[in-house]
């Protein structure tokens, strides 16, 4: 970069502004870790709960969801390490991070509120999970994630009106459309893809 004080044309000024702003765009690939990690963790928990409910006499199959607790720590630790290593913090990244943090807090509150009727947890958590998914899709301008957020709302309705068995199966299927498919599509993109 030229550092001398010299006359610039208007076009040069605009080019510098455009070039520099493009360099602060969000690296979209970094979001794929959380989508894939949570997608698979929730698929594991929800399918295990369904199988225990269907094929065993276990009284409280929802206990399998306690696997989510170490998952939260893994996710937070990953984000913390990435954040510490980052040499720049863009506003897009901050909005992205805090939208997901708000979802985490909302999930804990929901867990407390619904702890006496865990069987009906699915539609509520899908409704709340749709919000950061949908917003993140817009932040990184990635349509599969926007569609994933919408699919969460549709599966939440299916889970509510479809009876207990559909409610239990809605969650793993929603993970496929909301986290796993967008997560793998995101991962396929190169490191240089920015939005």
């Amino acid at each position: 970069m030229e550092t001398m004080e010299k006359d610039m044309t208007g076009e040069e000024s605009l080019r510098i502004i455009t070039d520099m702003i493009n360099k602060t765009k969000f690296n979209i690939r970094q979001g794929s870790f959380h989508l894939l990690f949570w997608g698979w963790l929730i698929v594991f928990c929800s399918l295990s709960e369904y199988l225990l409910f269907k094929f065993s006499d276990y009284a409280t199959p929802w206990y399998i969801w306690f696997f989510v607790i170490p998952g939260v720590f893994v996710s937070l630790l990953y984000g913390f390490i990435k954040g510490k290593k980052a040499t720049v913090h863009t506003y897009a990244e901050m909005i992205y991070t805090w939208t997901w943090m708000a979802f985490l807090i909302a999930s804990i509150v929901l867990f407390i509120l619904l702890s006496d009727r865990m069987g009906s947890f699915g539609p509520y958590i899908l409704t709340v999970a749709a919000i950061p998914t949908f917003i993140s899709g817009f932040i990184i301008r990635f349509r599969p994630l926007i569609a994933g957020g919408i699919s969460f709302w549709l599966f939440a309705l299916a889970a509510h009106f479809g009876g207990q068995e559909i409610a239990m199966l809605s969650v793993p299927v929603a993970m496929l459309t909301g986290y796993l498919i967008p997560g793998y599509l995101l991962k396929r993109k190169t490191d240089n893809d920015k939005v």
Partner: protein
Amino acid sequence: MIKFKDLDPLLHSQLRLAVISLLMNSEAAEFTWIREQTGATAGNLSIQITKLKEAGYIEVEKKFRNNYPQTLCRITSMGREKFTEYVNALKEYLNPDKSRI
């Protein structure tokens, strides 16, 4: 019609304009990252950052991370305002018939 001499002289410089443009979208950026993005030498960048800091366009925070010194730069609300004014003036210069936005 706006002339180039009417543009903010502090921003109408390649490296300072690049620094402010980088900081517009960032909550905070490290000196090393700004140097990588602009391709400037550390000495030159340091001089330009000091000018921007003295004018109140940016804030500079020095701290340590893992025992290494770290210099963080942030744009101030004044810097944001001046950048917006600069872009508006530039638009007016380039498209004198169009109204400011």
